[in-house]
Symmetry: C2
Subunit: 301 residues, 2 copies
């Protein structure tokens, strides 16, 4: 098949748009969409320091590369990268190497913060101790906490994360299937709160498959390995469900995101953001006196 735009050989078909695209026009299409997403949701503004949460996986690497390509020349916008080293043997060292490679190639400041330094234990050690929660519960809370702290301490005004269209559509559906409208509403960040860096998701309109293709086409140093702990039964089921449904009904993932966007803003008044305190132990923002992380790692006692 030929590219819809230039009639050269197409390398990708977008079932949701009906377009066959060659490599340069796929790249152009992705970049156009990301620019549109950033503008529409005002994800980046003059004077911002954008901290990119860089795991070294395909999504965050593409995100960093793209933001650098689109905004790297802008004197009024600063981009830095933060990688959290949770301490996961056999997985994180590789992705860390890739993260270092891309930041040094692009000349972007790279900050690495580790669970070991911050919390005194690696994730492997926490898991080995056998807590009451699964590895992903610990990791998610601790990583978010440390990302926010590190971003703030490095002067970031925004924290950009690599969630793609598939991730977002899955999360909307998971929240609906759980009756958790509050969490669904919180997927679209409202306004900044003291100490909490506003998160943004510039890849939310790019299908996972196209993010992967972009990484390959731009020859980015990307690690496609998966975290050994990462196994969310429910997300896996929802992912399969959505992927199966997308085939006969292309565009469904976009439609789910459209549903979220139509609902989240008006619903915000009904599920208002809690105003945050400062954790009396670590000083990070929290809705109660002691933050979830200090509780999880037993700093209370």
């Amino acid at each position: 098949m030929k590219c819809r735009k230039c009639h050269k050989k197409a390398i990708h078909f977008q079932p949701y748009s009906g377009a066959h695209l060659c490599a340069p026009h796929l790249i152009e299409d992705i970049e156009r969409k990301v620019k549109h997403t950033i503008r529409k949701h005002r994800m980046i503004e003059k004077g911002d320091t954008i901290a990119v949460a860089l795991s070294g996986g395909k999504d965050s690497t593409v995100l960093l590369y793209l933001l650098h390509k689109l905004f790297g020349e802008r004197p009024d916008i600063n981009i830095i990268a933060i990688t959290i080293d949770e301490g996961i043997a056999g997985y994180r060292p590789n992705t860390l190497r890739h993260a270092k490679e891309i930041t040094s190639k692009l000349g972007i400041e790279h900050i690495i913060a580790s669970f070991k330094d911050e919390y005194g234990s690696t994730l492997d050690q926490i898991v080995a101790k056998g807590g009451e929660k699964g590895p992903c519960s610990y990791c998610g809370a601790l990583r978010k906490h440390l990302l926010n702290k590190t971003a703030r301490e490095n002067g970031a005004t925004r924290l950009a994360v690599g969630h793609n269209l598939d991730d977002e559509a899955q999360t909307v559906l998971m929240n609906l299937l759980r009756g958790d409208v509050e969490r669904m509403v919180r997927m679209v960040p409202a306004c900044a709160q003291p100490g909490l860096i506003l998160r943004s998701k510039p890849l939310r309109d790019i299908p996972e498959r196209e993010v992967a293709l972009y990484a390959i086409l731009e020859d980015l140093p990307v690690d496609f390995s998966e975290c050994p702990y990462a196994y969310s039964a429910i997300r896996g089921e929802v992912r399969d469900m959505l992927n199966d449904f997308e085939v006969p009904h292309p565009g469904t993932k976009y439609a789910v995101l459209r549903s979220l966007d139509k609902m989240a803003e008006p619903l915000r008044h009904n599920f208002p953001q809690q105003s945050l305190n400062t954790c009396s132990i670590c000083g990070e923002p929290t809705a109660s006196d002691i933050c979830q992380v200090c509780r999880l790692i037993g700093r209370e006692g």
Copy 2:
């Protein structure tokens, strides 16, 4: 297994509640839930004439029987049944016979209105002519139109329809997957409008399986056959999807309905009901000058 309530032999297990129930306690449980639904959503009030849309299938037959059981003795509440005879050979005559049987058994006034009398053609004739839309599009619009008209002309203040939990959860999910938040919001009726009888769904909290069991246990004359035209590919897929997901995650259908209830009320302000006009041809309520039905059946020309 033994019934959770009386230790007699259980005939049904509710995975979402963990309860095994005997026949009398399942019936009790269903009736308690329906009463709760009616009260919570103020579906029936003093002085109401409830028109039950009675197809003769399990859902509407159980609905009629239940409303008669719960409210039949109330002097301030009147129950009537309306059956629409679309004119579907090999299907409707049987269900019509069952509808007549239950209404005469319960001593409930039964009004039958037909497409043939109202629109001059049976559904079979409309389908044979080969319109631009599928049979279900014609049938849905015409049936709704005729139900509303017949209910109003017979003094009904409410129109009760037999949608069960599965139907409702499927519709929420379908609307989300299509990005159609407007239609999702309209699933929960707002306020009455001139000429439009308010619809209610007293079975919305009863799983389809339990509606079917209730019909069998109460020995109701029910037709389990399916309409020969009824084939919605997308609803079938969504039904399978939800049923598959419900097995490892019991309670999901209830959670989806909870999501709807949390969202619909607050979102109503953002997607306001259109104020209705009167169709210049048939006089029924419509958002434009000529109603969808008059357009569909070519009454315009």
